[in-house]
Amino acid sequence: MSIKFKTPMGKISRLNGKCISLVGDDIDTDRIIPARFLKCINFDSLAKSVFDDDRKTLKGNHPFDLETNKGSSILIVNSNFGCGSSREHAPQALMRWGIKAIIGESFADIFYSNCIAIGIPCFTLPKKSIKEIQRYLDIKNLFFEINLFESTAKAEDLKFNLEIKETSKNMFLSGEWDATSKLLENEALIKQKLNDLPYINFNSSF
């Protein structure tokens, strides 16, 4: 029997986990979750389809299939990860597979904001640091302890100062990454804005 996936909630300040490396630049969201799996009205079944085409092509040798990566939760990637389609199904599929944080050289904008909105912190590190981590992972397992407050990732014999946008960091530490209720607190200001916008009254209705 499958256990219902529990989405993250509230403040996020510390994350511990095993790292999994996925080498490659410009890995787009079509690769993370091919469009045929978007035919669904909830995100529940996406975990098994993450990287479906790439995994089939590599016949068991894709990082997401390797026995040694089982149970990993910190994804290490290269540059412009998550480019392309805005489909939130991509970070949702990664999260449901087990990913709780991503460290990379850089991220595409929409993918990044989708990750924030569902509670996956994304950190950046310079190219050479990512290479160092990926080389390490070629040889042995790596367990990071991520401290969001300090913006650090520590292992027994490694330590990195992670970079994260100040606004994102604040949102995770305060729990405001789950934005809806915070946005609704400004209800009066929203109504005021609607009344003030010049174009609201210009338009014919349909």
Partner: protein
């Protein structure tokens, strides 16, 4: 930090508040939804016991999953039927205007909103689709969002967002005959790279941009996201206003004059400040084709596939991957590459002017033997106009299949897919691995005119050789 650009003005106008974490709360003037990225957002509203705040500011259509051959209900594909059914129910329950199949106004969301006059200068527009940048062609600030943000817009008509930087892309001179907006934007992405736009809004400007029609401008803004920019826009001008005049949802009568006056005030000021400026000579642009697996990997039709030492070290990893996936060798000509499938359509190039250009190339020609060629109009309105002009006949006589409106093989969520390692000549926007429905299918992006040329010769060809005869 940019100052006094259209982006700054529209952003400031829509800012509701500064959020405690440091980002801005931005009012969304127009929210567009479709069947793929909205069901989970409506589900989340239900879970949180929330209502749609301003239902009249959201408009829905159905595009990604619709079959383009037989659209009778229920759809043959049960999952597709479930998705359209869910959208219908959500729109009814929350009193959201839905342009369904057969309404006369259904189509690809980024084709429909401009043709109805919903898209207007000075608006913020959000949609759960990365090609929302298209609407920036009208001087709106339009960007793609994910499903959680769709939920937030439904619930509050606002989202939390960090202000983007602004890069002006100045396009000097004009495009030559036989060169189109698609060629221009592919060149911009090639020169700047697919990640240069991360954190930026792109303002497209200069004589080459002013000379473009509104539909061509939409093609350029549409592909901003392929250069990494979530948002791309063009300052509104007389062309913008005359395109919008008398559209169904555009301001009418005395409101029109008020609106135009306000729209004119939104332009980037003469002494505005950009975070960056990039210049490009449009007269040097050739018919352009992608050879790789990102929209940045493109060359002119008469150029050769670049070798590794011609590629920036940062782009060599993805270039190696592209050679292997596409089966191209460095130094090989792209011209004469055999094509199996020709696709004209998508939110990039599925508008009436795209169909006109392609039909002009196809007139009195036949598609090559064994070529599968099909055209998918961007909307019911585009299809109707095309039929009125007899374009459907030209396509059909040439050997194209004439289909019903939808996203179709741009992303292959319906039954229009590549098979095996087929090579497509496609007027769409993404050549990612597996994008067109086959895990080893190969996509060459190009203008609709170039797709038409390829359909006739059966291989990558220079459209100028056909039209200049």
């Amino acid at each position: 930090m940019s100052q006094d650009t259209l982006f700054d003005k529209v952003w400031d106008l829509h800012k509701v508040a500064s959020l405690p974490g440091g980002s801005d709360q931005i009012f969304v003037g127009l929210h567009l939804i479709h069947e793929v990225t909205s069901p989970q957002a409506f589900g989340a509203l239900k879970d949180k016991n929330l209502k749609v705040k301003f239902p009249q500011r959201t408009v829905a259509t159905v595009d990604h999953i619709v079959p383009t051959d037989n659209q009778s209900r229920p759809f043959k594909d049960n999952l597709a039927e479930q998705m359209i059914d869910t959208l219908e129910k959500n729109c009814t329950e929350h009193k959201i205007k839905f342009f369904n199949i057969g309404s006369g106004n259904q189509g690809i969301v980024h084709v429909v909103a401009p043709e109805l006059g919903l898209t207007q200068p000075g608006m913020t527009i959000a949609c759960g689709d990365s090609h929302t940048s298209t609407h920036g062609a009208f001087g709106s600030i339009a960007f793609g969002i994910g499903t959680s943000q769709v939920r937030d817009v439904l619930a509050s008509q606002t989202i939390a967002m960090n202000k983007l930087k602004v890069r002006q892309i100045w396009c000097e001179n004009k495009l030559s005959n036989g060169i189109y907006a698609k060629d221009l934007v592919l060149n911009i992405i090639n020169q700047l790279g697919v990640k240069a736009g991360v954190g930026y809004a792109y303002e497209f400007a200069g004589p080459a941009i002013s000379a473009l029609s509104m539909e061509e401008r939409m093609t350029v803004c549409n592909m901003s996201i392929e250069g990494g920019a979530r948002c791309g826009y063009i300052n509104p001008d007389e062309k913008t206003f005359s395109y919008m005049k008398d559209k169904l949802c555009a301001p009418q009568n005395e409101n029109w004059d008020k609106a135009v006056k306000w729209w004119k005030s939104l332009k980037s000021s003469d002494n505005c400040i950009y975070d960056d400026v990039f210049k490009l000579d449009a007269s040097k642009v050739e018919p352009t084709i992608t050879w790789g697996i990102t929209p940045g990997q493109s060359i002119g039709v008469n150029q050769k596939i670049p070798s590794l030492n011609e590629i920036h070290p940062n782009d060599q990893f993805i270039a190696r991957e592209a050679y292997e996936y596409m089966g191209f060798k460095p130094g090989q000509s792209i011209k004469n590459t055999p094509i199996d499938v020709c696709f004209i359509g998508s939110c990039t190039n599925g508008r009436i002017s795209d169909l006109r250009v392609a039909a002009q190339v196809l007139e009195d020609h036949k598609v090559a033997k064994n070529m599968k060629a099909f055209v998918v109009p961007g909307s019911e309105k585009v299809a109707k106009e095309a039929k009125k002009e007899g374009l459907d006949k030209i396509f059909i006589n040439a050997g194209f299949q004439w289909r019903e409106p939808g996203c179709s093989m741009c992303l292959a969520m319906n039954s229009d897919k590549l098979i095996g390692n087929q090579v497509s000549a496609s007027s769409s926007n993404r050549n990612f691995k597996g994008r067109q429905g086959s895990p080893n299918g190969r996509t060459l992006l190009m203008s609709p005119a170039m797709v038409a040329a390829a359909s006739i010769t059966g291989k990558v060809s220079d459209v100028r050789d056909l039209i200049n005869k």
